[in-house]
């Protein structure tokens, strides 16, 4: 197999007294198998729920499988995942108790956080990926990456990102594949020396900006000060990033072959866009550029989502919202089911790429937990989240099942289970009451 990201170990370490932990690259070292494997997590979200008609003639388009436990069969919607059956678990019946009482379109924000978005203070809480990134992100060049098809942060309760920082602030998602690529793999401008001096300039510059800003802050009214603190926090955070980049300066970015990546794909070419986003997450994991990624396929804001029309452009007839609304109508179940199936195909492609890539004695998927699903079962319904947990076989997961829970089990138990498998020490996550014992080996 062609490995364009192959790195010569000497190139890799030339001229450096390596002091920080190295990115883990399978292609680099034969002895690497003795080192602990990196543990990764990826979350992929879609809005408005899935096809789940109660009518018998639509049974084959039900998203949730028939049967239960080990003994279950996929319906049409999830058939594309058949080759991965033993590497994943379908989970039904779960929801965030906090989400059950808020608006039918308001739950995307809290899917990864379990936060409460009700009343006047619409402040979210930290998302699962960011807790993991805070604990483990220092081992890679990037702590995490946040992607979505719409991009940015969107609007509270209709956000276009899945990731939230510790203070509950949304983290803007990138929606241009080329930007993701440039961040992860793009060539740095200038020589090492030039970069080094640029970093050092950056640090003085940011210091000076911070200093100067303190005098600005004093002149502001109270509301403005709160807003201004966002600015100050952002400057401090990039100071941190500059320092980090400086440390990583010694190690070149992995070089990957961009052939086959549709880096200019946008909302006019949805299939290429989504495939490329999956490809980029795969490459990010494979090159160990980051271990934590989130990707929101679409959000529940008709007013800003550019992804709502994707099914129309791809020949599924209606917008994602209309497909979901039509799920109960005659023929609607099949129309929505086919769209569900298309999304499952793309997920399957991503999972198979991870599985088909060797790492140590196993493959990348063995050490990657992928969480896929929605915070609606069908439109406006904030219960019974359709959920797939895949991968992580060597992190203590036991797959090949369809698990059903009742409402006594909060969805956050999934988050807690994942954090513990990642070996992030947490006692609880949001309103979790325990772990999902049934999924653990």
């Amino acid at each position: 197999m062609n490995k364009p990201w192959y790195l010569d170990r000497r190139t890799f370490l030339r001229g450096t007294g390596v002091t920080l932990s190295l990115p883990f690259l399978e292609c680099m070292s034969a002895n690497a198998s003795v080192a602990p494997r990196p543990k990764r997590f990826c979350a992929v979200y879609f809005p408005y729920g899935v096809s789940m008609s109660s009518k018998d003639e639509n049974a084959k388009w039900r998203w949730f499988p028939e049967g239960e436990g080990k003994d279950y069969q996929f319906n049409e919607s999830l058939k594309p995942l058949d080759p991965l059956r033993e590497s994943l678990t379908v989970v039904g019946g779960l929801s965030h108790p906090n989400g059950r009482t808020i608006g039918g379109h308001d739950t995307a924000d809290i899917w990864l956080t379990g936060g409460m978005l009700k009343g006047a203070q619409l402040t979210n809480t930290v998302s699962l990926d960011q807790i993991a990134a805070a604990h483990l992100g220092h081992e890679t060049r990037f702590r995490s990456i946040t992607l979505s098809n719409t991009g940015g942060v969107g609007e509270v309760t209709r956000s276009s990102t899945l990731s939230y920082a510790r203070d509950g602030q949304p983290i803007p998602a990138i929606n241009q594949p080329r930007l993701v690529y440039n961040r992860l793999f793009g060539l740095e401008k200038g020589s090492k020396e030039e970069q080094r001096s640029e970093f050092s300039n950056s640090r003085s510059m940011l210091d000076l900006v911070l200093d100067h800003s303190k005098s600005v802050r004093g002149k502001l009214g109270k509301r403005d000060q709160e807003k201004f603190d966002e600015y100050l926090a952002s400057v401090r955070q990039i100071e941190e990033r500059v320092e980090r980049s400086e440390q990583w300066l010694k190690i070149p970015k992995p070089s990957v072959n961009a052939t086959g990546l549709h880096l200019d794909a946008d909302d006019s070419t949805p299939e290429e866009l989504m495939k490329t986003m999956y490809d980029l997450m795969f490459l990010a994991f494979q090159t160990d550029s980051t271990r934590f990624a989130t990707y929101q396929l679409d959000n529940m804001n008709g007013a800003t989502s550019i992804a709502g029309k994707f099914p129309q452009l791809l020949g599924f007839g209606k917008s994602s919202h209309s497909l979901a609304h039509g799920g109960n109508k005659a023929n609607g179940a099949a129309a929505l089911g086919k769209w569900d199936q298309f999304r499952a195909k793309q997920l399957s492609y991503f999972l198979q790429r991870l599985r088909d890539t060797e790492e140590g004695e196993g493959n990348l998927l063995d050490h990657t937990i992928v969480m896929y699903g929605s915070s609606n079962s069908n439109t406006h319904n904030n219960k019974n989240y359709p959920t797939i947990l895949a991968g992580g076989d060597k992190m203590g997961f036991k797959h090949g099942q369809y698990l059903r829970y009742d409402e006594d089990t909060p969805f956050a138990n999934v988050h807690r289970t994942i954090l513990n498998r990642l070996e992030v020490p947490v006692d609880a996550f949001a309103d979790s009451t325990g772990e999902l014992e049934e999924i653990m080996a």
């Binding site: 009343g119 600015y231 007839g317 005659a330 406006h380």
Partner: protein, 811 residues
């Protein structure tokens, strides 16, 4: 109350006094609670610790109670209370109770979000940042490409200080953009060598199949374009110049052909994707047309990729008279001989009725400069003797001048110190002054005074100063930084006089930069961008052409601009006797009298026309459709939100969808379908005040055209299409029977013109101030509305009044 149409006209004022509200509670609400709830949550029992008879209804001040009321709303929406074995609420009781709770809770939310009637320090949004960078540096380039898309405020605006956020990633891209900008602005060394290529015949080939189906030619028509390929060296940074020698072949009764130039190379379509510009070709004699841009703004092919495709320049003719595209014809090149199949080729028939362009040559050159060093460089690094004698002193002057423009106010020497400190630090590490000054200049571009509209503020409101007024005016009306004349006006203290402000506003609206205001305000107020979120299903609209979308998007903006610039009445938004169209759109709308070209022109409508006003514009009709059919609910919500400032409440959690698996459902007219929806009490509460507005508009399809039949699929017959007659008779809230769009417009004009006026005032204020309107703004809005109405709803005057209102001039 939000749910009731009849009460809506002046709802906030009516409810603002708590006396009215508590009287309503005693009269209408308490009796319902007493009848259904007190038994378990009253004096005797307090199940779940909830007791209604003594619970405070002052939700703004008693927050724990407000939370309990909120939970009460939820259990009612979920139909969890009263318990199953108890008597149900009647529909009327339920509606009253939910309506009251919704209203009260909304008020609490508003009160909590209040910014005290003052704008929150606001960051330049993407569009403002782009314009400001271009104006500040004097270089047209793409500065905001990497910035994340902006979120919307709850009222749909993109310039709301409270909702514009900052994040580390955003800062990172600001820093990168600042440095890149400075490396362009401050040049060093000798003028770089200029590469020049002249292409006389279309010599490129595109990879994408659908693109290949156009012919390559020096004659530009709807079915052919010129594709030039450059394989030899070309510059990869700096300004380029495309010089095209071409002439038009004009046709009687048709407009001028329009030449569009695109450049770069897109990996997935294998075509140049990014448009440089377009221009009308009006002469039948060869003329030279020049196009400029910065090459780094265009995706360039990679020289290291397996097969270097070359830099592609596409020159095409985007003129379209709106007539259907011709079909390709197959011509036989070599006839079939024995078993050998015939060799054929598909070609486009010549459309000799359409104007075309004949290209003689295409020249591509770069990097080009007007002078060396270029003007934008010398504007920052102005000539001075000091430069050689006192480098530090010169740096201080350079920075101070630059900061003055970047911060949009005078700068104290002390403020320059930190920037000077950076200069000195960097100066020690690099060879030249020019290199060293780039970094502190970049630092200016990431400082808060540049990225935000910073206005000092204390406990008390204060009138803003001249410089702050200059910025507010300029971002309101131009979407960019003040220009030299505004700076001068500020410096001379002329901006404190209301009369002077009005005069300046009129001048500013005359300036072409005011298009930024039209473009941004119309997009945010009316959400015309919705057309880009809906894809038309060609099975339902076989004649549809996606190429129309940009024209549809533009129409509403040109319409707004016409009303504004010609000092017309804003009631034209409700109905008008003219439209603003270009040729393809006129063809689409079936207008006889038609503009000749792609430019938008005012076209009078005949008496009998179905068109006029905003409601019949395709941007509204398509944007709020499913792409297959109209979407009466979305259209109705749009009308109430955007034109009447009366948005319906959000759907409650777990609202059931149209739960009909009845295959005959599809055969019902939409009016009947919606009726079924309203049959459920929980839906009816809201939808009876929503649906009628949309039903009245149902005579227009997703394509924005009048229709008498609706195309549907029959679910029982494998989706076979059938036609359904359009029904537009409906009863508006308040009991007015109307039938169709004309009636709707007449009703709005007769009965709702004042509410519309107030809505427009409120939206314009929201945009002008960059903050949401609050209770304390009501009096101001009323005053402006009264003035607006008494001056015949003149939009131009309203903009002047808003810009000179005390709210606009206060921090």
């Amino acid at each position: 109350m939000l749910l009731y149409w009849g009460v809506v006209a002046v709802p906030l004022m009516a409810h603002a006094s708590s006396a009215a509200s508590s009287a309503e509670y005693e009269k209408d609400i308490r009796p319902i609670l007493e009848k259904h709830c007190f038994a378990c949550h009253g004096p005797d029992k307090q199940k779940n610790d909830i007791r209604f008879d003594t619970m405070s209804t002052d939700m703004i001040n008693d927050r724990p109670e407000a939370e309990t009321w909120h939970d009460t709303l939820d259990v009612l929406n979920f139909d969890e209370m009263p318990p199953e074995d108890e008597p149900r609420l009647s529909d009327d009781e339920r509606r009253k109770l939910i309506g009251w709770l919704n209203y009260k809770i909304e008020a609490v939310v508003k009160a909590t979000k209040s910014t005290g009637g003052r704008p929150v320090m606001r960051r330049l949004n993407r569009s403002e940042y782009q314009n400001t960078m271009a104006d500040l540096l004097g270089i047209e380039s793409r500065y905001a490409n990497n910035l994340p898309p902006e979120g919307l405020s709850e009222d749909g605006f993109k310039n709301n200080g409270a909702s514009l956020q900052m994040s580390a990633m955003q800062m990172e891209y600001y820093l990168e953009a600042a440095r890149t900008a400075m490396s362009k602005s401050i040049v060093s060394g000798k003028q770089p060598e200029v590469f020049r290529h002249v292409i006389e015949e279309s010599n490129g080939t595109a990879g994408n199949k659908s693109q290949r189906e156009r012919d390559y030619s020096n004659t530009l028509s709807r079915t052919s374009f010129f594709l030039g390929k450059i394989e030899k060296d070309y510059h990869e940074h700096g300004e380029f110049l495309v010089r095209i020698r071409a002439k038009a072949d004009l046709k009687k009764g048709q407009g001028y052909p329009r030449m569009e130039v695109a450049l770069g190379y897109r990996v997935d379509t294998l075509m140049p994707e990014r448009i440089v510009d377009e221009v009308e070709v009006t002469s039948e004699r060869i003329q030279t047309y020049e196009f400029r841009g910065r090459i780094e703004d265009y995706p360039l092919p990679s020289r290291v990729q397996s097969k270097f495709p070359g830099l592609l320049i596409r020159v095409s003719n985007v003129y379209d008279d709106g007539s259907p595209m011709p079909k390709q014809e197959t011509v036989v090149l070599e006839p079939a001989v024995g078993k050998k199949k015939a060799k054929t080729k598909k070609i486009w028939p010549k459309e000799s009725h359409l104007p075309s362009i004949e290209v003689e040559s295409v020249e591509f050159a770069g990097p080009v400069f007007d002078s060396w060093p270029p003007k934008y460089h010398s504007d920052i690094l102005f000539p001075s003797k000091k430069r050689r004698t006192d480098e530090r002193g010169y740096a201080a002057q350079v920075l101070k001048r630059f900061m003055h423009r970047a911060f949009r106010r005078p700068v104290e020497l002390a403020e320059v110190e930190p920037y000077l400190a950076l200069f000195e630090r960097v100066r020690g590490t690099v060879a030249t002054f020019d290199e060293a000054i780039r970094e502190p200049l970049a630092m200016v571009l990431i400082s808060p005074d540049f990225l935000y509209l910073v206005e000092a503020g204390g406990e008390e409101k204060r009138p803003i100063n001249d410089w702050e007024i200059a910025s507010r005016l300029s971002y309101f009306l131009w979407g960019t930084m003040p220009d030299e004349s505004l700076f001068i006006a500020a410096e001379k203290g002329r901006l404190q006089k209301k009369g002077e402000i009005k005069r300046i506003v009129a001048t500013m609206l005359n300036d072409e930069r005011s298009w930024n205001f039209v473009d941004q305000f119309v997009d945010q107020w009316l959400d015309v961008g919705a057309v880009n979120r809906v894809a038309i299903n060609p099975e339902f609209y076989p004649d549809w052409k996606d190429e129309l979308k940009p024209s549809i998007h533009e129409e509403t903006k040109h319409f707004f601009a016409e009303v504004l610039n010609e000092r017309m009445s804003a009631l034209n938004f409700l109905d008008s006797d003219f439209v603003m169209v270009n040729r393809p759109l006129a063809r689409h709308y079936g207008l006889d009298e038609s503009p000749r070209g792609m430019k938008f022109e005012r076209v009078s409508l005949p008496e009998t026309s179905d068109r006029g006003g905003l409601l019949t514009q395709a941007s509204v009709l398509l944007g709020h459709s499913t792409g297959e059919d109209s979407h009466p609910v979305l259209r109705a919500v749009w009308l109430r939100e955007r034109l009447l400032d009366d948005p319906p409440a959000n759907p409650p959690p777990d609202v059931p969808g149209l739960d009909s698996e009845n295959p005959d459902f599809a055969k019902l007219p939409v009016r009947e379908q919606l009726k079924i929806h309203r049959g459920q009490a929980s839906c009816n509460d809201c939808h009876r005040s929503i649906d009628p507005w949309g039903i009245a508009m149902d005579g227009f399809g997703a394509d924005g055209l009048v229709r008498t039949e609706i195309t549907r699929r029959d679910p029982k017959k494998r989706g076979k299409m059938f036609a359904q007659p359009v029904v537009t008779e409906t009863t508006l809230p308040g009991g007015v029977d109307i039938n169709g769009m004309d009636d709707l417009k007449a009703y709005l004009l007769a009965e709702k013109r004042e509410q519309f006026a107030r809505a427009l005032v409120s939206k314009l204020m929201t945009y002008a101030l960059g903050r949401s309107m609050e209770l304390t703004d009501e009096a101001m809005i009323d005053e402006l509305t009264a003035d607006f109405i008494s001056y015949d709803f003149q939009l131009h005057r309203l903009v002047q009044e808003v810009a000179s209102s005390s709210a606009f001039l206060t921090k």
